[in-house]
Symmetry: C6
Subunit: 280 residues, 6 copies
């Protein structure tokens, strides 16, 4: 008989959760102060901001500063409360309970970070409610238990206000339990520092790349502002450093991912050609 | 093989249910008398009120006064009757029945508190019907049993009338089985006492915070009235006490969680700046 | 490891089904004669009537008179045929079949009472068909068996015609298998007797309460007629007897459960104040 | 621990399938000849006709004449192919395959009768296809087998053309595999014979009951024609024989089950009072 | 306890798959040449044609000519990829993998025939993609394996273009992987040969039956053309040979299955009466 | 008892994944340079292009050049995150974890290729997010682990912009994590080389086939451009080499698969007859 268990590799795995290497983060406004005050006041935090502006990095940087672990969950419409809290699994003849990431964060006093919370179903947003008011408990109905969160535990949720629509919105009863922090793309001088730090790119090419990002963000077309995020500038910079022609790199990392519309793409390529004039 | 059962932590857990510490609650109207009469007359209770006005606190305070336990369930559209009543679970080679929170409340004669009942599916609202009429029994079909509720058992459900719509409404056949209590935000003098008690904030800053709440509630914009709930005032107070600049705290705890609309946010910030003029 | 089976309480449970105490029921029309004839002719029964008019009581009273048991199922859209008929469950290393309430009623020759049948899905209404024609059998497909119903077995279904809509209606092929009984609220003299019997309330207060019910039912507003059901009058009476101020009791038991509309509530309270002038 | 297996009764059950007692059936047209020819030619049969005209009886009468068993399945939208074909079930430590009713009919060479086939989902109608063409096989994918149907096996499906709509219709590719038989309510003299045979009712009361049925069917109101089916006349007759007042019996068995519309009910009661003038 | 495993019959079953008896098929165009060339060039085949024109027969005849087996799957919207590929099943204490029909066809180098492919869900059409391009592999994700298809393996899918609609259409990315063959009803002389071969009917009655089919197909009413398929003519012929009156047989096999519309049926019966004038 | 495990064949299976034979791929633009730079910069890749232009081939050719394995997943709306990541399966009395293709690609440092990513559900696109930013980890929640991707691991996703619609589009937050490569049909001289290489067809017939493809693509009808893909030209060439008449081959491989519309088919056949004038 075919040994179907063969694909069960035993390769070494990384620590769970990933920590130690605190990511590089440069504050833009008073986001650090609000985060620390909310943490001190035992309040959950809601981070608002466009895609690629550094929300995940900010959370992991704060976790590093507070010396606690981050348990990140990317929310989506098929995520269930059990995915967060845990479930019973069969292990041979025995049944064991396996904690979900939210439960692990509560037990260890870390940060539970629910990315793009508005994508999750209601049962997911409801399961966090008892953690967000004066009770600060996580009910685990399947075990008939309630976990009391230690002081260091912090719940952080994020979403991109640009994506909001009538159907997928955070309920007021969830929002008003949170301390809210608004993030945005960093100003040019900080963005330049970030791209240099992440890719090693420098000099005139770096300056043109940052200027290109500013230019695209100032174009008044729907959706266009977001796509030239700090993340895509870092990506373009990485391709250039890897040896790709700078214009080809900017097309591949900035213009092409944005749109399938031919005239919009042509306009973006013109911008690329205008700003990126230096060869790597 | 990877030992997948490793995440099964054995950390100590809190008692189930949480009790002992009766929360601080100051009655505003005759809600306490109605609750006690309904409890004496063996009637289920329906609490109506806006988010953050203290419904959960009120229920737990009454439970404390009656010296019985509260079993809280935050309802949502994926909650099933089995989540309330219980289910069979495998334990090694054996199958055991695990009571759900409603069953536990019936067995122990406590309060079963179904928060935001209108979010639940019909099978959830139907399962409580035999508990709400002269029979006062909980049928557990999976066991082929019916539990007779003891006198001290009280079913409490709540919802926020401001959220109601045509689709998610409590059926008349459910509503008219209940004794209804309407709650609202407390008057300024009581709200001030609550924020002081919960956060330790006092003096001029406390007064401005309470005045800010009154001001926002009197603005005639849809949804705005609710967001400056007692809960968010307590949250702002907590951030201030944790050392955050009072205006930054009010922005983060009151204005930003409310809305992603730029002009609405600007108006709220103006209100914050008008009312919060004292430094912490 | 956490002993997750701890919540499995072993408290004593009531008999299954509940019987013995035949509820108090006073016939209003010829409902008793039709029920007994249908039972004698081996026909299923369809009871139509508004919420809170006493359908469940009537069925249990007839069961008492016939000295058979009642197996009540509150129908809802997630109820499955297996919930009615039964299912296999694991018990340790063995699999046992557990009868559902319909099967138990067939086996023991009792009354199977499907309350609010129109809320159920089609597979539920279809499973009762072979029990409703000349065959009078319950097929249990999972066991590959058919149960022949004994003579005393009676299927009773109910619904509230006021709730009917195009989507949730009983199919003609189901309806015309039934003998139909229409129930309504009892006339004042009988309703007065019921409230006195159930609560102990008497005298002028009882008379005003009954008059209040008549008054609300005569108001020409959609939905209003049903809410002042016999059940809510009994509820208000119970609160008064428990010591609550009569007007507060009528507000909490009759006016508040009905509506969240401010002007409608105001009108109802005016009615309450007009009719309830005696102190308890 | 509660012995949850207690409800597993061991009461005697009837034979599976029910046979022996061939039901009373009087042919109205050439339905018997077509059925026998289709059976001889190994063709599946489609029976069309209104609710309560005797489709099930006709099938069981033909089965009796052919001395084969009938395996009836009432179709509905939650019926799955596995419900028809069979499934694996755990029995202690072993897994056994349990045939569904269609498979049993194929194995034993009986009649598989799918009542209201249009209510079933596509996977149910598709599973019968290989049984309806020249192959006459039932593939059991879960076993990796195909059963060859013996000559005596006959597939019969039925539906009520009056219920058809655009969504729930039998696909042409299914219909044209069938030999179709149209049934309707019997003429008065045959219907009279049926009601007498089934209930024992006779004389002037029987004549008025049959005349009432004819009268209602001739009223030109949508749905009204069907409800005064032969089945409801038999039901009314049964209630009369059980001692109920004839007019009350006709109201309860014919008028009330039809409609919740007050004026329609009034019209029907007038018809009842016009035709039913004899006391029982 | 009831021995629920009793229905597990051990009757003999036919070989899996059915082969040996190659069905009778008379080519109408160049369908045979295209099929053989596609088979030689290792290309999947798409057969288009109306219901009842002989698609299944054609596939089985080609399989007979190529001396390979056919694994037929009637597609429907609840068919899953696992139904095609296979699944793990418990066998006592062991878990065994059971191949689905597609996997069996790949392993044995036969024909996998997916009938009415457009009824299947996307996961079904996607699972065949790697079998339809240069790779010719079947990935079995559950086993972590990929099966390389032998040269003799041929994938055949079919659908009825008359049924197509915007929702259920074969994706272009699936269609353009296929060699397409269009089938239609055979011309009269071939159709006559088929009906004679299948039923034994001959002479004037056979001629009138074929003429009736041609006449109905030439009527210009939607859907009418398809219903007088070769299959229904064979069915009518079979009923006649079984002794049924020819006009009754044509009504039951051709007119009645087509429609529930009274005037359409009347028109068809007139056609039947015009063409079928000979007694059997 | 029937031995249902019989279909469990033990035929030899191919290596998993398929490699060794690097497919033939001729670059058209700078797609190779971008792919290698993205791979060097540890960036995920998004390939856009019409059906049948060679996306899968390109990916496997690059994998061959990089000497790593490809793990291809054809996405569809029923694909779950567990299908990608892995799941626990019972093996006798033991539970083993079986890696999904994405996990296998991460563990072995290969290419994970998600074909037609826009067809997948959100939970699938979300599970790849942590692999696409600076973290490059694959969280396996069921195991409570995170896998760190080795440098050689590359995530590649593809989609056909022509299929995009409002509902099924890649979220901006996913797109802007990718380096994008646009592919299209190759120019005639390269396409000719491809068809010759794949089929062996040459000379005038090959030239006419390539010209036919160019002609169909220049026709201005919606959808038509895509269907004469390089893949269908290769398919037609293969049928011709297998001995089929060239015009019949082009009809079967190009015209018939495209459309069921009669006039569109006629127009295509005219094109075929115009361009394909040589006999094979």
């Amino acid at each position: 008989m075919i040994d179907a268990s063969a694909p069960l590799h035993q390769a070494p795995i990384t620590e769970s959760p990933v920590h130690g290497g605190i990511p590089h983060y440069i504050p833009v406004g008073n986001e650090r102060e609000i985060f620390l005050a909310a943490h001190a006041a035992n309040r959950p935090i809601l981070i608002k901001g466009p895609t690629g502006c550094g929300k995940t990095r900010f959370v992991e940087a704060m976790a590093g500063e507070l010396a606690i672990d981050t348990y990140t969950v990317a929310c989506h419409e098929d995520l269930t409360a059990a995915d967060l809290v845990g479930r019973h699994l069969l292990r041979g003849a025995d049944t064991v309970w396996v904690d979900g990431p939210l439960t692990r964060a509560v037990r260890t006093g870390g940060i539970a970070y629910l990315d793009e919370i508005v994508e999750a179903r209601q049962d997911v947003t409801v399961v966090i409610h008892p953690l967000t008011d004066y009770r600060r408990v996580l009910p685990i109905d399947r075990l008939g238990q309630q976990l009391k969160a230690p002081d260091s535990f912090t719940l952080v949720v994020s979403y991109n206000p640009g994506y909001q629509n009538a159907i997928k919105d955070l309920k007021d009863s969830t929002r008003q339990r949170m301390v809210a922090i608004s993030l945005d793309f960093p100003p040019p001088e900080i963005e330049s520092e970030i791209v240099r730090y992440e890719t090693g790119l420098d000099g005139a090419l770096l300056d043109s790349l940052i200027a290109l990002g500013q230019a695209i963000r100032s174009v008044d077309a729907p959706g266009l502002r977001e796509v030239a995020s700090t993340r895509t500038l870092v990506c373009a910079g990485g391709l250039i450093v890897a040896g790709l022609d700078p214009r080809v790199a900017c097309r591949a990392a900035i213009a092409e991912p944005l749109t399938d519309d031919a005239s919009l793409t042509a306009g973006l390529i013109e911008l690329v050609n205008t700003f990126i004039t230096v060869k790597s």
